[in-house]
């Protein structure tokens, strides 16, 4: 490792260091400080101690907070089951001797490169109760009784949003699992064939155990991402996360609290920061664990 003059070190390090400190680290710390204040964004900040946290966890906003929080957890559980489950199954289909894999893989990945908000608007049209393609299609094939107001029924709306989310992201999980599976040494599978194993046994006893580390990483990522959900709800149900807040998540609750949108119960930067802090506390330990694992894996 070489020595270097201070002048050059400052030249290389400072631009990134200053930007990163000002717009990533400082805001993170400032959120914590702000969460102890009441502040509508202008005028004087009033120190209120832990009042914001009390309001959110046990006070007047507890119900709204719990509602959103439960939706995030539900979102995580369902996307984990469908995105990881289907992702694994389709990835296995790709490690067979079929032709045209590249084109299939490219198409499967396509929705991932489209902006989430645009995906939301496209599906908003697809799911329109009167003329949306989904209901029209169901009626055409004689399953008209299944045609539903997908986004208007409080019992369906969140599931519908999750389904759209699966549509957008599944390809990512397929490719990640595929990459993990093809890194398994072919001899392992060939030897199993020689020993008389069938495909199901190979999948169950060789492929699956080998992708468990990938699965764990993806679970952590999915959990973190589940608490970032915002765009898709915004596009399909608006910031009010209707009908009757049945699709509200912490992201939309946070947005309403900090930046308004009609009908928010109280608009306040301090209260918003308190919600952000609670979300930090849920997500950051896992993110740190993920970053730690990534760094460790790189070094081994």
């Amino acid at each position: 490792m070489q020595k270097i003059s201070r002048k050059f070190i400052l030249l290389f390090v400072l631009p990134a260091f200053i930007l990163y400190t000002t717009f990533v680290i400082y805001p993170f710390i400032y959120s914590f400080i702000l969460s102890f204040y009441q502040w509508p964004g202008v005028g004087k900040k009033i120190f209120v101690g832990l009042k914001n946290f009390r309001d959110i966890l046990v006070g007047p906003f507890a119900e709204e907070f719990r509602n959103a929080f439960v939706h995030n957890i539900y979102f995580f559980a369902l996307t984990a089951i469908f995105e990881l489950g289907l992702g694994f199954i389709i990835a296995v289909l790709f490690v067979t001797t079929i032709k045209g894999k590249r084109i299939f893989q490219t198409l499967v990945y396509l929705p991932n490169v489209i902006s989430m908000i645009l995906v939301g608007f496209i599906w908003n049209m697809m799911l329109n109760p009167q003329w949306g393609l989904v209901n029209k299609f169901l009626k055409t094939i004689g399953l008209g009784f299944l045609a539903k107001p997908w986004l208007g029924d409080p019992n369906l709306a969140l599931n519908t949003i999750i389904a759209v989310n699966v549509w957008r992201h599944l390809g990512f999980y397929v490719l990640v699992f595929y990459a993990a599976i093809i890194s398994i040494h072919p001899d392992l599978i060939n030897a199993a064939y020689i020993d008389g194993a069938n495909n199901f046994q190979i999948i169950r006893y060789i492929i699956f155990p080998m992708v468990v580390p990938t699965l764990q990483t993806l679970l952590i990522l999915l959990f973190i991402w589940s608490f970032n959900v915002f765009d898709i709800v915004y596009a399909l149900e608006g910031v009010q996360a209707g009908p009757f807040r049945s699709t509200d998540v912490l992201g939309t609750l946070f947005y309403r609290t900090a930046f308004g949108g009609l009908g928010s119960s109280r608009m306040d930067f301090g209260l918003g920061a308190a919600i952000a802090v609670i979300m930090f506390v849920i997500v950051v330990p896992l993110s740190m664990f993920y970053a730690y694992m990534a760094e460790k894996r790189r070094r081994s």
Partner: protein, 275 residues
């Protein structure tokens, strides 16, 4: 590679074809609807458009302000990506190649950024931008993207740099080249591939981002494409033919880019997340 009988293969093809149809149908629908009249959308949802006039496209382009939206998106995304690559590669180079005080600490400090969800810190970011008079400016947006992109880019680029041999640099140093020359003439060309991967991943992320423009930008003429479309969607919520045309026009460029560069997309994004 799993061996499969002809029947199994047939089933696999069938499953994949159905999956691909489910992926493609929504895009086909908005493309078709872009040519139709409202009446036609309602009455003949599955048929091809009766005429291929570009009327809807022209009108949607104008009303959704897509000229300025595309200009803004291209400007903000390009400058942000170049900014990320520039400051992160310098930082990665210093950490990877030289010994200086707090080097190890600096690396951990930056890597910690991988764990901080930037969106959650939007309130302080908003306040800082306000103080700097950068709220509702493209520059403000660019600065936020560059800052929040540093952790991930530095992490990946440092990894790549650690893997390249130092012999070339050492001989350049003996010849009296300074660190800046070595960086630009030797190291940057060697990590070209990594720069492309990091660039593509960030490009897609920033191009598609909706959250930061939603908060930071609020005047007409400064919106990026996702924000412009969202405003248009709100204002013309019943003009489905125009909305389809606007959506098509905003989706097509990124699709073309994706098909041309799919190799980098796929490598970058799968590696970026799980590596």
């Amino acid at each position: 590679m799993l061996r499969t009988s002809r029947l199994t293969k047939l089933i696999i093809y069938a499953v994949l074809v159905v999956y691909v149809i489910i992926i493609i149908t929504p895009f086909l629908m908005i493309f078709m609807n872009s040519f139709k009249s409202l009446r036609e959308i309602f009455l003949k949802p599955f048929s091809l458009p009766s005429q291929f006039s570009l009327k809807n496209f022209v009108e949607a382009w104008k009303r959704a302000n897509l000229t300025s939206a595309f200009a803004n998106s291209i400007y903000v995304t390009t400058v942000s990506v170049l900014g990320i690559l520039f400051v992160s590669s310098m930082l990665a180079y210093a950490i990877s190649r030289y010994d200086f005080p707090f080097r190890r600490f600096l690396y951990i400090y930056i890597i910690a950024g991988l764990a901080l969800p930037a969106r959650l810190a939007i309130i302080p970011i908003y306040v800082i931008l306000q103080k700097l008079n950068l709220l509702d400016t493209r520059l403000g947006l660019i600065i936020v993207y560059v800052s929040t992109g540093i952790a991930f880019a530095t992490f990946l680029l440092k990894n790549f740099m650690d893997d390249i041999p130092k012999a070339l640099e050492e001989s350049a140093m003996i010849d009296g080249a300074n660190p800046w020359t070595i960086f630009t003439k030797i190291d940057l060309p060697l990590i070209k591939h990594a720069l492309v991967v990091v660039g593509v991943v960030n490009f897609v992320g920033i191009w598609n981002d909706f959250f930061f423009p939603l908060i930071i930008i609020n005047s007409q003429g400064k919106e990026t494409v996702p924000l412009a479309i969202s405003i248009f969607f709100g204002e013309y919520s019943n003009q489905w033919n125009l909305i389809s045309a606007a959506l098509s026009m905003s989706v097509i460029p990124i699709m073309i880019g994706f098909f041309l560069l799919s190799r980098y997309f796929i490598v970058g994004i799968t590696q970026g997340a799980v590596k």
